[in-house]
Assembly symmetry: C2
Homo-oligomer: 355 residues x 2
């Protein structure tokens, strides 16, 4: 492992917000985006945090692919549904807007679902599903990802690394937060592996252009395609691919865009994304107290299952991230390469580097 | 392979309905259940069709576990949501009732979601998601399954083989129909393997009580536990487990029941299940014509990806089943063991065997 540098989460948020303002993002949007990036780092999702600030967001804003001042609008709406056009804004800003619309509808009818086109990379999908937690709702957030999944029966990159997140409040405990790519791993795990100096990654993550397992993380960017969750046809690859297409339909097709597998082959579409957000109001189904009691019971039941030798506890989705967040509130350890990229941004854009 | 016997789908439906009526199921409910069982066989889902008629449904009705004349009721309702108590009725009858309520709400507000407790095994989850297709809605159906998943970090059976189905209309083509257990395979694949005389099943489907791969299908019933989709922690097992818990929350906890992992350890609970149904009205989001055009385009894009050597076409979820259904409308090939079990039922219950 490399020498990490620990930074204060609050300062990191302020710094990131200043950087974004320097490339034309309005203050409120910059602060929201910075907050979401840092929240991913806080939860240990290093693949979707401030490491992306320069290479993805600032770069694409400068290139004119991401619109720093989008005119986000509802292009259709009904009591429980809506469609949002994100005007190629930062995915964080568009996503926050659309998830807010979904929750507004869930507050009124019990359920709200919003499909979003013309957006861009929105970071960790759990940033949006977790917005539902303080409102005692179940949050759902789906997004298209890069076009880097090898589709069963095909070779090379063809399907989306599409993502599913569901967040559920758990009274007195870590919220249940599922946040998963429909590939075995997300592509950005390779960036993390490279930053950590790993020279091999497990077989079963990716294949090369001929379908041969690829284990050198350096080769992924030029030659690799990610296997769908399930890996092989006989062990469920059609399920991972099926989930990816489901996400593509709900985000892209229902939102008035085209399949991400088509969209990302067009010029100047790097980082473009479609999303789908949902919220279910818990006390529209059963009383909030009953839900709190029952989900607490559920967590206990899974925790109480017999442990495999050497295993100390069983983790539900989101529990590990919750533990990490408790520690990292005191400071987030960043890779030296990430620190260097932040310093570079500071110098380039004339922002004081004070981390 | 064994010698199959081909039977007429219409006659098989009538026969199955008569059998169910003999054990006290009202005519309309018996016909609905029979129709859904045969629709699974028609689509090639042999693991969830009439092979279950005797050993699961008739048996459990006789044992008093399934209630043939349930008082199904809505225990809460809002504009876009409801909770249904299935009174331990046949899952087919309860599921049809609840999915109808979800679609009713989607027709009014754009989205409808219904959580269901006190139900029983409902066959193939796609029977319910596909109810949305003729209404030009996207159908969602989730159900808890048997308690036979080995939870990552644990040993033996502990989590639910919970199931996810999503159905989407595709104008002029096979509908997109995802129907997947959150384990690598569903438990009933072992029944099919045994009926087909297979002596080994692929490594990666199941493990024994110690976590060692189990490849003898005979040993599954007594010693086996199914691996979650993703198989191993480093290749996504936490995703399969996470999806299983997500289904448990939406079906069991949101419906006022308890975790399936707890419920199925109580006495007399064999075949008990909780469900969750949803419907999204397509033209509440975008005009139906635009959706039809875009999803047709999406299907073409996936079909047009480069093929791996030896592959003739790329299949989206539901396309294979659609092809099988076209053939099987002329006759459904059943295993001799299934024929024998139907003949036995006929003799036992005094129904003419006319298949």
């Amino acid at each position: 492992m490399t020498n990490k540098v620990t930074v204060d989460p609050g300062k990191l948020t302020q710094f990131s917000a200043k950087i974004l303002q320097k490339v034309g993002v309005p203050r409120e949007d910059a602060e929201r985006t910075a907050g979401m990036l840092v929240s991913a780092d806080l939860r240990g999702i290093d693949s979707h945090g401030v490491s992306h600030l320069g290479p993805l967001y600032v770069k694409r804003i400068k290139e004119g692919i991401i619109n720093p001042k989008p005119q986000i609008k509802l292009t259709s709406q009904a009591q429980s549904t809506a469609v949002v056009d994100g005007d190629r804004g930062l995915g964080f800003v568009v996503g926050h807007y659309a998830m807010t619309e979904a929750m507004l509808r869930a507050g009124q009818t019990g359920a709200g679902f919003v499909s979003v086109r013309n957006s861009t990379h929105c970071g960790a999908a759990s940033c949006y599903s977790m917005m539902a937690l303080p409102k005692n709702m179940i949050g759902i957030s789906l997004t298209t990802g890069g076009r880097a999944m090898v589709v069963p029966g095909s070779v090379g990159r063809g399907g989306g690394i599409n993502v599913i997140s569901v967040a559920v409040p758990v009274a007195g405990g870590a919220p249940f937060v599922l946040d998963m790519a429909t590939t075995v791993v997300a592509g950005s795990k390779f960036e993390v592996a490279l930053r950590n100096g790993q020279t091999t990654i497990p077989e079963g993550w990716a294949v090369d252009k001929t379908g041969t397992p690829l284990t050198d993380p350096k080769k992924y960017a030029t030659e690799g395609a990610l296997l769908p969750l399930g890996r092989l046809p006989e062990t469920g690859a059609f399920k991972g691919f099926g989930l990816s297409v489901m996400v593509d339909i709900l985000c892209s097709i229902l939102g008035g865009s085209v399949s991400i597998s088509e969209l990302l082959t067009q010029p100047n579409t790097t980082l473009l994304a479609n999303h789908f957000f949902g919220a279910l109001k818990i006390d529209s189904f059963i009383p909030a107290d009953d839900f709190a009691r029952a989900i607490g019971g559920m967590v206990k039941v899974y925790h109480g299952l017999p442990k495999a030798p050497g295993v100390e506890r069983i983790y539900l989705a989101g529990e590990m991230e919750h533990e990490i967040e408790k520690q990292r509130r005191q400071g987030i350890p960043l890779d030296p390469q990430v620190i260097a990229s932040l310093q570079e941004l500071a110098a380039e854009l004339g922002v004081e580097y004070d981390l």
